[in-house]
């Protein structure tokens, strides 16, 4: 098991992450929430999540938390994803497949303007 070596590496990753964070001021905390009830998973929520995580990794997007929530009670709209930026009201999106997810990540999370076509009226 390469556990020890990995942990050393992880500590280095940590130092680097901390250093970078001090350089970049994050524009308010950003939260991305993907609904992962049975329905959501069946509708492809894991691919949505995968796309979100890939985006963060490839675009080096710091300061975003990604969490999950269970059933949202709107089966036909799954996969559902929510974006909360700072203390702005949350935006809920429906039918968020992997492609739509990366569009939301780029346009909304990174650049601050919601992807209107997929916003659910609540």
């Amino acid at each position: 098991m390469p556990a020890i070596k990995s942990l050393e590496e992880l500590k280095r990753v940590r130092e680097e992450a901390l250093a970078k964070k001090q350089l970049k001021a994050t524009p308010g905390h950003i939260q991305v929430i993907v609904a992962m009830g049975t329905c959501g998973i069946a509708a492809g929520a894991r691919d949505t999540m995968k796309s979100v995580l890939n985006f963060i990794e490839t675009e080096h997007l710091s300061g975003v938390t990604v969490t999950q929530t269970g059933c949202m009670g709107m089966c036909e709209q799954e996969p559902i994803m929510q974006v909360v930026i700072g203390d702005q009201p949350k935006v809920v999106y429906g039918k968020v497949n992997a492609e739509v997810a990366s569009q939301i990540m780029k346009q909304h999370v990174q650049n601050g303007s919601p992807v209107k076509d997929y916003v659910l009226p609540l």
């Binding site: 940590r14 049975t38 963060i56 969490t67």
Partner: protein
């Protein structure tokens, strides 16, 4: 859901909703005995008999909530139709363990799917849970294991979130490498 890994995600979600703090996921490919065995074990609040029945049987509806894993009866069916079965052990206040077994070579067996992505998804989105992932392959050439307990990772990271890009890259790499090190190229 046409992937065992998606069912594992679904079951683990139930474990989180049941208040599980220590959740373990096991995947065992026993090629010697031609078995594929997966399980999720949690220390959540468990279920009473009534709930357990409802979880296993979709037609046993008292239908108080809709939330109780609709996915499980489907997984049970899938396991049974490929020479295996599903079992549920649960105790109120103690936790739940759900285990599904398949005949590995059965023609109707659901593919295992992207176990790594299931692990990463859980790890990242529920940082308050202590996750243990164990993937073992028992083949002709011996036994290989990948064990990931996130305790050490989290203490090494301190207050740096798991979703920082470099941390995410590290985690994904670690999981991918770990799985690749135990799975022969032939595994579906």
């Amino acid at each position: 859901m046409r992937e065992i890994a998606l069912h594992l995600l679904d079951i683990a979600e139930n474990s989180v909703s049941a208040g599980g703090r220590n959740i373990r996921m096991d995947v065992l490919e026993n090629l010697q005995d031609d078995l594929l065995n997966v399980s999720v074990t949690d220390d959540g609040r468990g279920m009473d008999e009534e709930t357990a029945k409802r979880v296993l049987d979709p037609f046993y509806t008292t239908r108080t909530t809709r939330k109780v894993g609709l996915g499980i009866p489907l997984l049970k069916l899938a396991a049974e139709s490929s020479g295996g079965g599903l079992s549920l052990e649960t105790e109120s206040g103690k936790g739940t363990r759900i285990e599904a077994t398949f005949r590995h070579s059965h023609i109707d067996r659901m593919p295992l799917g992207d176990v790594g992505m299931t692990m990463l998804t859980l790890l990242v989105s529920y940082p308050h849970v202590n996750w243990t992932f164990h993937y073992e392959v028992n083949g002709k050439d011996g036994n290989r294991q990948f064990l990931l307990d996130d305790k050490e990772i989290k203490s090494a990271l301190g207050d740096v979130p798991l979703t920082e890009p470099d941390v995410l890259k590290f985690l994904r790499g670690m999981i991918e490498e770990g799985i690749a090190s135990v799975t022969p190229e032939t595994v579906a």
